[in-house]
Every structure is written in C-alpha cells, then in structure tokens.
C-alpha cells in the first residue's frame, strides 16, 4: 500500500529507532515508502542464514564500522546545511551494523568488532570531508553489489539489498552536496 504522505512520520520513527538502540539483531523498522511493517516481516525472516555466508556478512559489517567511524568524524566538519544529513546517516549506518551483526549471529557466527581506528585521510575543508564520505559510500555500495547475488537465501539478499539501497540514497545526497549529479546513472554501481 502506498501512503498519501510518502515520507510519513519519519522523524518520530527515527526517534523510536534511536530509542531502541543500534546493535539489536534484526532491528525492527519500516521500509522507505513501505509503511509500518517490520523489515523482518517484509522479508519473511523464517529462513535460515547460511553459516557459509558469515565471512561475507562480516566483511560488510567491517565496512559499516568504517562508515560509522567516517560519519562520526566527519559530521561536525560538514557544511552547516548538511550536518543534519550527517547525523541521520550516522544513525542509518548504526542500524545497518546492528542488522548485519544480527545476520552474522543468526548464521552461527560472531560479529566482527570495530577496529581501533580507520584510515580516513587528512581532509582539509568541508569539500574534502564530503569527499571522504563519498569514497566510503561508494566502497559500501560496491561491496554490497558484490555480496548480494552470492548470499543465500533470497530473504537475506532482500535484507542486505534494503541496506544497499539506503546507502545509495546517502550517496545521492553526498553527491548533491559536492555539486555532482545526485543520480548519475540508471544503475547504481558505486563507480560513478
């Protein structure tokens, strides 16, 4: 069902998400334009996550930890008009990490922990800070696109694709802030 108000009461739902806390396995959230049903309900989460996918899921989780570090460091340095976007996207990455950690646990694995530090370079000026976020989001997108077709079962593909598409949205906003075309291609590849 499509809503009359497509963006809905997203602010209050984000508040609920924050209150629920990141790191909760299988975070219960609504999808973009998807109304109020949970992600787990939408992907029919009864199917098992394969133990053989633990390494791939942990690789994605490691990249999400990198993105969390990047947004944590970058957000205070962003242009004033985009600080709120940085804060929101940091929350998103925390949710992604929580969801991926839940998938790793569901597959019988141990979620990889954040590293002590991540290479973020030495950006000078808000433009270079945005450039770091652009690089991080592109790396995430490339990694998700590599992983999605190899993951099993289909419901896990869906769950990971729902994260990928959100990161694609982040990339569009970051690109617009860099005065680049927000949606440069009909296919998101992470290489634009």
């Amino acid at each position: 069902m499509v809503s009359e108000d497509p963006e809905g009461d997203s602010a209050s739902r984000r508040g609920l998400l924050r209150a629920a806390g990141a790191g909760v396995a299988g975070v219960i959230v609504a999808g973009c334009g998807g109304g109020g049903s949970s992600l787990k309900a939408q992907v029919g989460g009864a199917q098992p996550v394969l133990h053989s996918d633990v390494e791939m899921l942990n690789h994605l989780l490691d990249l999400e930890h990198w993105a969390i570090a990047a947004y944590t460091a970058a957000t205070p340095l962003l242009p004033p008009a985009t600080v709120k976007a940085g804060q929101l996207f940091l929350n998103d990455e925390l949710s992604h990490a929580g969801d991926l950690a839940g998938l790793v646990r569901a597959a019988g694995g141990k979620p990889i922990k954040p590293r002590p530090s991540y290479p973020l370079g030495h950006p000078r000026g808000s433009g270079e800070v945005l450039g770091v976020l652009h690089t991080v989001e592109q790396a995430l997108i490339t990694a998700y696109l590599d992983a999605i077709p190899r993951l099993r079962p289909g419901t896990v593909k869906q769950q990971v694709a729902s994260i990928f598409a959100n990161d694609a949205q982040h990339l569009a906003v970051v690109r617009a802030a860099l005065h680049l075309p927000a949606v440069p291609s009909a296919f998101v590849t992470g290489r634009d």
């Binding site: 069902m1 499509v2 809503s3 009359e4 497509p6 963006e7 809905g8 997203s10 602010a11 739902r13 984000r14 998400l17 959230v29 609504a30 999808g31 973009c32 334009g33 998807g34 109304g35 992600l39 939408q42 992907v43 029919g44 008009a81 709120k84 976007a85 929101l88 996207f89 929350n91 998103d92 949710s95 992604h96 997108i141 696109l145 999605i148 077709p149 289909g154 419901t155 593909k157 869906q158 769950q159 694709a161 729902s162 994260i163 990928f164 598409a165 959100n166 694609a168 949205q169 982040h170 990339l171 569009a172 906003v173 617009a176 927000a182 949606v183 009909a186 296919f187 998101v188 590849t189």
Partner: protein
C-alpha cells in the same frame, strides 16, 4: 545470458515433469525454485517491467502537465531517461530468457488501472499542482523499489540479482531526490528510513 538461460529454463521444466523433480535433486536454480512453487525469473521480470512502464507513464504525464516549478523539469527529465533505460534493459533480459515482453508506452486508461492495482493514490491526469506531481512520482518510485525488493527474493540468475539491485538503488535515489524537492533541506524526509523496501 543468451541461449544458455533459455536452455536452462527449458531443462528445468523438463526435469520437473519427471519423477526426480524433488528439490534435493534439482540441477538448476529454476528447478529448485519451481519445486517449491517459486515464480520463474521470467515471471518475476515481467512483473517488474509492468511497474517500470507505469513509472515511465507517470514521469511523462508529470512532465507534460507543466505544473512543476521552474528548474524542476531539468531535475526530473534525466529520471525519465533512467526509467526508459530500465524498461529496455529488463525487456532485453526477458528476451534472453526466451520470454516475450511489451515495451510500448502505456495508455492512460491502462496506467490508471495499474495505479489501482498497486494502491497508488492520486491520478495520472489530475496533475494541476506541483505537489500532486511530486507526490505521484514519489509514490511510483516506492512501487518500483518494492517491485525490485520483491524480485530479489526469488530471482535465480546471479546476473539478474545484481541488475535488479542496481536498479533498485537507482529508484531509491530518485525517491530521495524527488522527496528532497518536496521537502528541501529536510533530510529526515528525503532519507526517512535506514532500510529501503518500497511498497507492494
């Protein structure tokens, strides 16, 4: 994918007519899926194509309405080009699977029926205000996101999974930009959720 896919689909159908059609014996992705009554890749892409054609009609109607604000046409027009590319690409994949597809522009009557089918509020013709136009496009992009999200659950060919994910990402970006036009500077509206699933 070429003829290989077609042969695999034929092979899967053939296998399923035999006594050894149990999922454990299935030799192809199609056979395994058919054994559990999962739609074929052709069926899945046919549904996706229907949605893409509806989205194309929506963009055309909006651009023809003249109701967008100055400068917004330039933002929206490339998105129509993307949607047309999605239509041709999905149709090409269907052809590679040996399936017929129709890529002709939808008429408004058919489009209106599809709006009802996908529970999209609004109209393809009563587009007199900018707000109506942008709301329609956001809602259509939600349906497109949902179509690809649903497709990813059952698609068997890895290349098709990648393709559908890439297009789903593009639709999500369209959604964000159009929602950003509706709510400038309010990022919580243009990227409202950490997970994109669309509507179905």
């Amino acid at each position: 994918m070429g003829d290989g896919s077609t042969r695999r689909e034929w092979l899967s159908r053939t296998l399923l007519t035999g006594a050894g059609a149990a999922a454990g014996l299935a030799a192809t992705p199609e056979a395994a899926r058919a054994a559990t009554a999962v739609p074929s890749d052709s069926d899945t892409l046919t549904k996706v194509l229907e949605v893409e054609r509806l989205v194309v009609l929506g963009y055309r109607q909006v651009l023809a309405s003249g109701a967008l604000a100055k400068g917004e046409d330039a933002v929206i027009e490339p998105f129509l080009a993307h949607e047309l590319e999605h239509v041709s690409t999905v149709a090409a994949q269907l052809a590679a699977l040996g399936a017929m597809s129709d890529t002709a522009p939808l008429d408004v009557k058919t489009g209106a029926a599809l709006l009802g089918k996908y529970h999209v509020p609004g109209s393809l013709t009563d587009l007199h205000a900018r707000a109506d136009c942008l709301r329609l496009l956001v809602n259509l992009e939600s349906v497109a996101e949902g179509a690809y999200f649903t497709a990813l659950k059952t698609l068997g060919h890895a290349e098709l999974v990648t393709l559908c994910a890439q297009i789903m990402g593009c639709e999500a970006q369209h959604w964000t930009v159009i929602s950003g036009l509706r709510n400038p500077g309010i990022y919580v509206k243009s990227v409202p959720w950490p997970f994109v699933t669309g509507s179905s």
